[in-house]
Symmetry: C2
Amino acid sequence: MAQFDTIAIVGVGLIGGSIGQAVVEGGLARRVIGIGRRKAKLAAALRRGAVSETTTSIRQGAGAAQFIVVTTPVDKIVEVVRAVAAVCPADALITDAGSTKARIVADLESTAPAGARFVGSHPLAGSEKTGVDHARADLFRNRVVVVTPTARTCAADTKRLRRFWSSLGAKVIEMSPAEHDRAVAATSHLPRLISAALAAATPEKYLRFASSGWDDATRTAAGDADLWRSIFASNRANVLKALARFEKTLAALRVALERDDDRRLQQLLKDAKTNRDSVGN
Amino acid sequence: MAQFDTIAIVGVGLIGGSIGQAVVEGGLARRVIGIGRRKAKLAAALRRGAVSETTTSIRQGAGAAQFIVVTTPVDKIVEVVRAVAAVCPADALITDAGSTKARIVADLESTAPAGARFVGSHPLAGSEKTGVDHARADLFRNRVVVVTPTARTCAADTKRLRRFWSSLGAKVIEMSPAEHDRAVAATSHLPRLISAALAAATPEKYLRFASSGWDDATRTAAGDADLWRSIFASNRANVLKALARFEKTLAALRVALERDDDRRLQQLLKDAKTNRDSVGN
């Protein structure tokens, strides 16, 4: 059952393409317009069935939509949402898929055109692989999507947004932009930073001995460096706080190892296992 | 083509069971004797086809074998190899599958019965899952197995051992016990320690926001705490050196983030990606 007649998606990479594919396959909208700057990428999205039509014009694409999802890199989101808000219908709902929320939401609340209906989203799904070729209609199924309304958001908009992500199979969680950023600093940004440190700290001559443990622990370090640099930069204070917690725990492990303190070492390893086992996967 | 008439495997968990299964399925020996203390585990190995017969007696199992693989936890290997050497035929070859080599090999060279033919092995395969139920005949296929002969090893024994692991599909690499321990400290033990620190440092209230990046980066923290404690303890100096390298790289990332030094941050992330991409998987 279609919630919107027309949905526009700005940016047809892994996330935008997967949203489009889920909407197209689920018949959740009559038209799914892919908006982007590069025609080759738009053509690829069309071929994959991730969108039903494409345009390089935000005016043309967003002007016709009741719901617009902006999936550009975090450092472009504010600018693109403003451009969308300037041309979309007055009651159209706008969201994004950025990995950080506080700065984006605050910037938009102070600078977006009056009456723009923006509510932030962050689907906790993705992969070290990028591009529409890796898009999957089930990317959001059983994954958490955080939506971040504020005191200025109208409740009906939050409800529409929650309903949209739920229709993609996601578990929707509502929280403030600041609390969201603290949480993902610990569970997404810090792991990415640790993964990079581990990969960079491994001497080249030993890489051929990489265990499956090394493979897993460094997997996200294969992700796009530029994209991650901008994510870290936009959540710097929280990432540094999460990093301080990590460094403290690591130092405790180091001291236990230095002192040959088997009991303490085992206790720390057990604490880690308890947290890990509670998550699964 | 059978290289040995009878192979004995002490310890029928993930590694021992997978070796047995590969030998049985490949017809690499006429008899595969599983040796262990717990009858229920031996029965499970037999049911899975990981061994062709079982015994709780080292004398009975090893006494009949031309090749014996000891797959007990690292802190039990020396003791078990000595027991095997005391009862096996004089020309029988003994190896282990321990994650560290220097201490084990040195202990055995100074205390094993004269004439015992022990050459160390470390298959770089495994999983956070343990037990014979997860055993797979292809566990070693295209994985590295390090063998660690010393000046006292006879060349024919090393050759027999290399041939055995090759017949299981492994890529065999020969190096000294000390060099092996330095390598795996960086590529296996350190990742396990980092993974534990990350899992333990994640506040419980944020666990429900675990991204696939967190899942990957902490996967090995689900492994057995006791097993890993003894691995770390047996390779302490090298793990601490690898950890010092990691802490230095992590500090460089932290400083770049603190100073908002985008260029430096991006360079470090790119170095990490280069190492990660060169490994694949």
